[in-house]
Symmetry: D2
Subunit: 334 residues, 4 copies
């Protein structure tokens, strides 16, 4: 029995999730798309044979909806999670699951109390190479983890209006992927403290106002492992998502960037083309995470990414914010 899913938020990523739910996840049945903006839901729902709605209440009241996938504005995440949970709906929410540790904790509690599945959109865990790395690491193939690196660089020339990007976005929305990746690829250990270094290098004019676009974070883990998380809002050569886990017995590296295995050899040398679109580069992992969400519901078990994971990643982001303020190392909340 497929899971009957309503998608909330028909923006760019919402449209991609809707298409994935309707066409690529057999365990899902996309029944509705909700967006308060007139016509927005129709554009997405129409071609996929789903119902377009403007009110979340209609979805939450509908017994024919089992679960919601939240791709609305980040500021709305927390409320949507708690009200959906209260209505007995399973919840998948794009990261971050809230705007503070308190909000994420509340979301975690609300979903746990309601007994629903709660999964956060840390899609990198479902990328084929990162998943294979996790399997090798948990199988002991690289020994004790000692050094880690995870990075996220957005393609292009940076935000059109850097000043409109919420403060600390680089930590709470970009690097949060890397924080979860690092936590997950160092199983059994937890982040102890962080030291963040960040700046406005792409748009130096916004340095004073604190709109950071480039960051490097050093995280120490309870097993001694030292991790680096790196982000930039503007990679000229396209999306760049990589990982490197170095252990006493070896190393795994992940992330490639080439769109296909094609290589062009010409007067300029040998070239691989690189990806400019996240929904192209990451479609496999978007599919994987939504399939996992549906399967967890079907199998009445917690999803592979839990509210605890959301909290733990956000705790690192929060420590980064504090580290930027204090200039020093900051302990990570547990």
């Amino acid at each position: 029995m497929p899971v009957r899913v309503a998608l909330i938020g028909a923006g760019r990523i919402g449209a991609s999730h809707a298409e994935v739910l309707a066409r690529r996840v057999p365990e899902a049945d996309l029944v509705a798309v909700v967006d308060p903006r007139p016509g927005a839901a129709d554009l997405v729902a129409g071609p996929l044979g789903a119902t377009a709605l403007t009110s979340v209440d209609d979805v939450l009241a509908d017994p024919a909806v089992d679960a919601v996938v939240v791709a609305a504005a980040t500021t709305a995440h927390h409320d949507l999670i708690t009200t959906a949970a209260a209505a007995g709906k399973h919840v998948f929410c794009e990261k971050p699951a809230g705007l503070s540790l308190a909000e994420i904790d509340a979301a975690r509690t609300a979903t746990a109390d309601a007994g629903v599945v709660f999964q956060v959109g840390f899609n990198r865990r479902f990328a084929a190479d990162f998943a294979a790395a996790h399997e090798l690491i948990t199988g002991g193939r690289i020994g004790e983890v000692q050094l880690m690196r995870s990075l996220t660089r957005d393609p292009g020339t940076g935000p059109a209006d850097p000043g409109s990007v919420p403060l600390w976005t680089i930590f709470t929305q970009t690097l949060i992927h890397d924080f979860d990746t690092l936590n997950w690829l160092n199983p059994g250990a937890h982040a102890v403290d962080v030291l963040a270094t960040a700046d406005a290098l792409i748009a130096p004019g916004h340095r004073e106002s604190g709109h950071l676009d480039t960051a490097v974070v050093v995280i120490r883990y309870s097993n001694g492992a030292i991790a680096i998380a790196e982000a930039s809002f503007a990679a000229a050569y396209g999306y760049d998502v990589r990982g490197e886990i170095f252990g006493s017995g070896g190393m795994v590296t992940m992330g490639e960037g080439a769109t296909t295995a094609l290589r062009l050899h010409d007067i300029a040398g040998r070239a691989a083309f690189t990806s400019r679109s996240d929904t192209d580069l990451m479609i496999g992992s978007y599919t994987g995470e939504l399939a996992e969400f549906c399967r967890a519901i079907q199998e009445k078990r917690p999803a592979a990414v839990t509210g605890d994971d959301a909290w733990a990643a956000y705790a690192i982001a929060q420590a980064c914010i504090d580290s930027m303020t204090s200039g020093g190392r900051v302990a990570v909340a547990r």
Copy 2:
């Protein structure tokens, strides 16, 4: 309006195609799976919500079926194509579309006369890297094509019973993919003659009975380009599907073999894992070809791979067979 498709032949590749049609091609609606073997169709159709049937006649008589995808035994291809065409059904058929040039010509004529879409399963055209190569070549990016290479190597240790593999299979079923690839990547030119060299190197005991498992074919094209097609039934390191097109202005290379971008660095060096399963390695191209089939039907146009393409590739295979018999170069029929 999705295309209502019946799948004929619930074997290994049929099961994969059924799953692709049901779950990965939104333009398709898998309505039925047909297999004369008791219970075979049920196993495939059940989980996909399609009807299981044992008789093709039921499908051909059903006005609610728009198209058939033929994944039955090769010996049945020709009859299924012609009877389906006569019933007004669009036809996608796994390669080869028949067991002789005459059969393929008859299939081409029957589908043309019936005015239905006819597409043959040359899936390599839909692999992302080969498709990108085609785009670059047709865009003039590598100049005049001069040297070409296409190869197919099956993973593992070879057929369990080499004696049961039909004679000339390496040309008519394996290398036919490479013949089509070469024809397609040398646009505007046609194969002039071939010289085949083949042997039983994996199972030398079957050399006398003619069960060839290793082959190299040299093809000369009308624009002077010299092409090599290579095949082996047993690659220890997994599936190996590659291409290399060299022109006056540069070269494109395709085919990678690594399952993911993961690299494991350990005492043995740096390793990439390779693929052992065609339905894993090629799922993207299987999806692409079936989506193209459905779109061609929806848009009332010929598919990207036509009966003429099927005929042209088989003409090379036939010339290979003749070349093996004569020992010399053999002209390719036009």
Copy 3:
């Protein structure tokens, strides 16, 4: 006219440098090898047709010696540099050129006062890929430098006796290569402050005594660039020397690790063999730096790596030591 060189210190790296001077650098004439240990110099000098000596004084007094290459114990570097300079000999010295900023400053002053060429063994600048990166960066090919990474990992399982490794070696002898590389690949900028994170992860038993084997350093530069330098004393997969410079216009990556272009494809996947020997991996850059030294002497100009470079790299190492003590960010001396 080849430069007449005496090599001081017939240890492992000294033997390599002697062979390079005698056989690979046509601008050099290896005239003597000096080592106070009985017989040590003979072993190296004999096969190369050089004179074996036990006293540095003999070399310094000999007018037929133009230059010395110092590969003696690190503790002796400073004295050897200053006495050689006083004797009017040009000096190439393995890194570090002293055991403190004061020593390196004295060496820099002594050689400047004597008017001799003084070069420090930052060989990474002469590796083909790093040299090509430098050319692209100085040519503006990647725009403004924003993020940098340089790493050094030694092959194997770590020092046989971690307790015998001098304290802070990871900063003053290992990462000093990376500090110079980062300084050099960010032309026109200087290091502002550092924050060091280091631990004994390979030999945790030596943590208390401060014998660090794993380190991550974050360096902020005057142009805003944020750099990471990483080191480990034990990489299971062999020597690992890499660099990555990310700018507003693109990125260069350096370091490969594979010993040759050979790839082995077998049941385990596709493998590249990796290097376990520095004198193998780096022989090209050792040759390059010694050739540069001789050419600078012949052309009566400063060498490409100067005493100022030695001082600047050591200043970062010193700041790392201070950062480890204070736990916070430390300004880099200028």
Copy 4:
């Protein structure tokens, strides 16, 4: 005791060999450079401290010369080998060692009778990746050899005056490297027959006069292995020298083409720079072959590449010429 070598022929490759002998091969002492053209030898010999001569007779009569390295015009190879052997000089000769099987046989006999070392310039055997492949193959690492490929493509846009290139050059001077490589990497087997396909695709105007610039050769070996040798005189992307040996237990691939490990990632994608100069790309193998020659002399043993190898490779080239004439498969002389 270094081998005292005279270099004959101060052309482009002669100049490279002279520099290698003088500066990179410690086992060699370059004593003279001979070239009949006034001043040619001086240009090469001067900077290397060797004597410049215009007459080969002076070298052959000089007891202080142990060996000659022949880099003269191909037409002179045979005479130089036989007269040098008669004078008791060891001989290294660029490929091919003559202009016919008879000439090469005579050279082989003359050197054997004189008891001197005779080595032919099949430098590919000394490239690091090809040498590693040979070691793996002879160690049984890829099982029984079944399919082989070796290719040589020259960089650039082809010969300035295609009509001045001697007929059959592509077989006797270019592919002869590949023929030797294939023979060597299929140890214990010998070439049985060949089928050559070649054309003038770069300079089609010279097709009629037989100046071939593009060739594909299929060679069958006594162990059943099927080999392909490919050549082109004009690769837009630079030198391309690759090999691929496929066996029952795995595959080795050789040849990379990138000048260094540097990768440039920018708006165009990810690029590796490729090599345009053979003396850059192959300097390692040129050094290796000349070092082997000197060591064989010092150790009074045959060199790793013998007159028999020269003959066997030329026998394939001769069979290619015959195959082009007859249009069919031609047996390879033994």
